[in-house]
Amino acid sequence: MPYLPHSPDDVRRALETIGVDSIDALFDELPASLRNPDIELPPAMDETALMAHLRALAASDVTGGPTFLGGGMRRHFIPAVTPHLALQSEFVTAYTPYQPEVAQGVLQATFEFQTMMAELTGLDVANASMYDGATAVAEAALLAVRHTRRDAVLVSRGVHPETRAVLATYLRAQGIAIQTVDLQDGRTPVPAGPDGAACVIAQQPNHLGSLEDMATLGEAAHEGGGLLVAVVDPLSLAVLKPPGAYGADVAVGDGQTLGNPTFFGGPSFGFMVVRQELLRQLPGRLVGQTADVEGRRAYVLTLQAREQHIRRGKAKSNICSNHQLTALMATVNMAALGPQGLREMAAGSVRQAHRLADRLRAEGARLALDAPFFNEFTLSTRQPGSVVRSALAARGVHAGVPVGSEYGLGHAVLLAATELVTERDMDALLGALRAGGELEAAEVRHG
């Protein structure tokens, strides 16, 4: 049987040692009436059949080709060296580093991750990772609630709809009210009466791609005695003002853009970085630097009194396993690219997104918003977003994340561009939009 070492002799030897006469005898305490039900599972496959089956499944997916998909995940440059180093089996098959003497690999890498995230966000303390951006935002809201002892939060509609959905799920149980601030011209206005709110949560760039005035939102939050929780795309921070610089108390987000493949949505990882004062409220694991008995620098999980395995019912969160390996991918990737490489990616994606917008406008397309955007923007469409997306897919172009009706923009889709987008990719997109009747003006011109 695959993966099971024991030969019949081994089993016999083990049973003798234990003093029972069959493996089934080890399960005598299971309710007899329930034992060995017949369960419907597909028959076992050998490795060759398995891989053939999976390749066939993968072949009925469509990947590759020009892609302009964003909305929380984007295809960015990942140098070959990143997975080669991050996916070494010693990292992949290690458990949480509870024995630091033999886990310096994971511990030091995590410490370096915490350092890089603090640098990117301009804040003091990063934890070792969370599940994803959405759960990180929910945990940030709970942190703010604990810190301010308030029971309401303000969230901008510019925060990713799925993130807000997760926020709602998490907060409802604890009876915390959520007030959603509508956008004006695609940006978050200064919220009315943040008084009483534990925090203001805003996303930069926001879900529609627009750049928010985070500093003003921060002032409003602080005046109201609450915190500013900035939801950020970490890659954008290679060029954008870091949350620490505009007064954010907590920076959270999803780390996929730092060096993980999109994987149909996961795994990526979430991150949370806070001001020093919030350290004790921080959920999740933390790696600290110390020394061993011989004075060598070494790293160890620390301040665990915040965590469930020590504090149980009183822990800051129930999180146990976090997203170590995907965070390691980001760590290696950031170290591979350095500040210059990361900046080139961010600036390159801005450049390509604006280039695309210009070309679309030139073809008579209309952007739904005038607000300045980063590397993603909202395009008004004739047909519903999901129809547009399917039409483009049928022409081999992955693009057109539908924009929800909650934004009152009519039919619209998000278009993102990264440094990987080429001029020819844009040709393909424009061609497909044209063919789909989305570029009326163009039709005429080329008609």
Partner: protein, 487 residues
């Protein structure tokens, strides 16, 4: 003069030099960012990220990998963690799906959706549950999902105000009580009896109309099967409580008895345990949940469903608790779990639990012969609890073991047993490995007796030796101390 190799290992920041880099993204003309984004939106100076050559980068992370124990390199019998072999073919399998974008048109993701749909089906079959969601990103996340569904269920039945308590055994994993409070419940712990099972009397006393849920792990965290589980389920249900199954220990019984048949209403699975997805040094995991029909309406959205001849994602579930995360789940890991189930089939999975329990009992006997105490004198399931002889500390034994290239068992958990050593060898270890492990442990005890103080000094042969953990907590240094900072 200390061995030079034994000095402090460099930080990536100490390998950094201005102007160096390993990787280069595609070039584009530099855009006028101030004009496009607004001057005030730009950061003043670059983040201090490492600047290293590609070779220095490779050396750094290759050497770090050598400073790390792993299943691939070391026996790693962490109780409750199921550190079994992670098949290499799964790594190749997962990569087949890594380029899909969560928002690409569903008709272009039919293969992946079919895989997810079939995995929902197979996990339901294995747990005896009627509906499954693959969303949760870890076991604890699955717990929260499940408890929130139970909460929604009670609310829907008008008992939301009445039921405010979740019962967990005193030996429960920390995530259970932590989850309960996160879901807005208060926690009542019930002690366990001399045989390591839930004390039925105490349990009866704890039950009542205010109880929303009972969270159990079965086999429980001392590796004992709750033999009166049907009675427990009956009592819980009589009291109107829902019974939650923490699936972290499913490896002991997979294919042999199903949580659903035992009377559990909700179950979460740690695919990074029973179903071999790698732990990755602490995640990403996956904690799918399965529920009985009466809870199906409350599942998180979206669900993978059959749709006009193909597969799709449905948000159409009016009573859903909502979303628990963005997108659909940790697909990369779900592919691995799917591959595992398809490789072993029912017969194979039964053998998995059989050999897991066989190995655990074998090692228990070997460790007892080597001089360790076994608090619960009975057959155990996939793991067991042991204690060192009087006067010897579990921590010292654990550290001494490191010098053998062997990873210790889980130590000081569960909290209900003094100096607890919780050992879970899993089914993928050979008997020779277990013999060597027991032998090493025996040697450690002999040495402890022969050379007082030796154990306290261990480990001696690891990349670093015992750490000053107090200092780490008293003066936390949580990021690299740059020269210009008070390090």
């Amino acid at each position: 003069m200390a061995e030079p190799r034994r000095g402090s290992f460099p930080s990536i920041y100490e390998r950094s030099r201005p102007g160096r880099r390993a990787a280069r993204p595609p070039r584009h003309d530099e855009p006028d960012l101030a004009a496009l984004l607004g001057e005030d939106q730009l950061r003043d100076d670059a983040p201090r990220l490492p600047e290293v050559s590609e070779l220095d980068l490779v050396r750094h992370f290759t050497q770090l990998a050598h400073r790390q124990f792993s299943i691939d390199g070391n026996v790693y019998p962490l109780g409750s963690c199921t550190m079994k072999y992670n098949p290499k073919v799964h790594e190749d399998a997962a990569r087949l799906f890594q380029d899909l974008h969560p928002y690409q048109a569903p008709e272009t993701a039919q293969g992946t959706l079919q895989l997810l749909f079939e995995l929902q089906r197979d996990l339901g079959a294995l747990t005896g549950m009627d509906a499954v969601s693959l969303q949760p990103a870890a076991g604890a996340h699955g717990e929260l999902t499940g408890i929130l569904m139970i909460r929604a269920y009670h609310e829907a039945r008008g008992e939301g105000e009445q039921r405010k308590v979740v019962i967990v055994p005193d030996g429960a994993h920390g995530t259970n009580p932590a989850t309960a409070s996160m879901a807005g419940y208060s926690v009542v712990e019930v002690e366990s009896d001399a045989r390591g099972e839930v004390d039925l009397e105490a349990f009866r006393r704890a039950l009542g109309p205010e109880v929303a849920a009972v969270m159990l792990t079965n086999p429980n965290t001392v590796g004992v099967f709750e033999s009166r589980i049907l009675e427990i389920a009956g009592l819980a249900h009589e009291a109107g409580a829902q019974l939650y199954y923490d699936g972290a220990n499913l490896n002991a019984i997979v294919g042999r008895v199903r949580p659903g048949d035992m009377g559990f209403d909700v179950v979460h699975l740690n695919l990074h345990k029973t179903f071999t997805t790698p732990h990755g040094g602490g995640g990403p995991g996956t904690g799918p949940i399965g529920v009985k029909a009466h809870l199906a309406d409350f599942l998180p959205v979206p669900l993978v469903v059959r749709q006009d001849g193909g597969y799709g994602l449905s948000e159409d579930l009016p009573h859903s608790i909502g979303r628990m995360r963005s997108f659909y789940g940790n697909v990369g890991n779900l592919v691995r779990a799917y591959a595992y189930i398809r490789t072993l089939g029912l017969e194979g999975l039964r053998r998995v639990s059989g050999h897991a329990v066989l190995n655990a009992n074998y090692l228990r006997v070997k460790m007892q012969r080597a001089g360790f105490r076994i608090p619960y004198q009975r057959l155990n399931m996939h793991e067991f609890v042991a204690q060192p002889p009087e006067g010897v500390h579990t921590l010292d034994v654990a550290k001494a073991l490191l010098d053998y290239g062997m990873h210790p068992m889980t130590v000081y958990f569960p909290l209900t047993v003094k100096e607890a050593m919780m050992v879970e060898p899993t089914e993928t270890e050979s008997l020779e490995t277990l013999d060597a492990y027991a032998e090493a442990l025996g040697e450690v005890l002999e040495r402890a007796a022969a050379e007082p103080g030796f154990l306290a000094g261990a480990p001696y042969d690891t990349p670093v030796r015992r750490l000053d953990e107090v200092r780490a907590a008293r003066q936390p240094v949580l990021r690299f101390p740059f020269a210009d900072e008070a390090g």
